[in-house]
């Protein structure tokens, strides 16, 4: 069965109270929700907590979800806005590098390179808006117009934010190399 048709069926069954079908929906979307939280908040425990809240909210709103497509869209939107709310509420500023201590199981990161790890840590140091745009563009592979719609931002602002974010990311990465060289020699 096609994934979309499978999700449609799971959605129908979950609406009728089938907990196994709801678990299937969670399994299908948990990677997305957890990763948005982890890459944005920089804390795996917090991302897990936030992920659970998103799925509880989904459970309470199952009746309003019309299709598998709508489901992914809804879950992504709620995850993104919960992350943003969390930053606003807690004046959340990431100072420390991304927390890698929490074990990310199963489909984790085989062959995770030094560059990947460094990139994630540097993304975690970007400003809130820049970080979210980078996550949506490179993790979720969304089009700029989709990001604009999701974040309620004008398209041009998304473009400039992405440009600035990449520039900052490149700048930070080069500075790290220079500092490492200086420390080495």
């Amino acid at each position: 069965m096609e994934p979309e048709a499978r999700m449609d069926t799971a959605l129908q069954r979950a609406r009728q109270g089938d907990s196994a079908a709801f678990a299937e929906i969670v399994r299908e979307h948990q990677g997305m929700v957890f990763s948005i939280g982890w890459h944005y908040l920089g804390d795996a425990w917090l991302a897990e907590d936030l992920g659970q809240e998103v799925f509880l909210q989904l459970y309470q709103n199952l009746g309003a979800i019309q299709s598998a497509n709508h489901l992914s869209h809804w879950v992504r939107r709620v995850a993104v806005h919960r992350c943003i709310d969390h930053s606003r509420r807690k004046y959340f500023r990431r100072e420390s590098p991304l927390d890698e201590s929490h074990e990310v199981a199963a489909n984790g990161k085989p062959g995770d390179s030094f560059l990947s790890k460094r990139l994630r840590q540097t993304v975690a140091q970007l400003r809130d808006k820049e970080r979210m745009v980078i996550v949506l563009r490179y993790q979720e592979e969304l089009e700029l117009a989709e990001i604009a719609e999701l974040l309620n931002m004008p398209l041009n602002s998304v473009k400039s934010t992405l440009f600035r974010a990449l520039q900052n990311l490149r700048g930070k990465m080069s500075r790290q190399v220079k500092e490492a060289r200086y420390a080495f020699f």
């Binding site: 957890f34 992920g51 489909n107 993304v123 490179y138």
Partner: protein
Amino acid sequence: MHFSDDELREALRRKDPGEAFTQKVTARVAQQQAGGVTRSSAGTRFRGFWHLLGLRPVLVGTIVAVLAVGGSLGMMKYRQAQEARAGEAAKRQALLALHITNAKLNHVFERAKNPQSE
């Protein structure tokens, strides 16, 4: 350190939190179905409290700060007004005392000048 778009995409690839996560979610859903309102941490409980009041901690903090600053400014103004009022009263009393003294002295001078007048 240079990186390509693909390398950034690879670094931010989705990660699955595993079956344990699914189980935690389904357990919380079951708890919710059973009627218990569950919260995962003290943080979320605290958050829930503010949501219940329809307020946000930042908003409450701002309101408290504005009230505190406004209150202390008001108190300062009130004290200044009170001091000014007390000063005016003292001035009036001093003038009255001077008038009385002046009248008494005039009377004494009159009597000294014309001892037979009474």
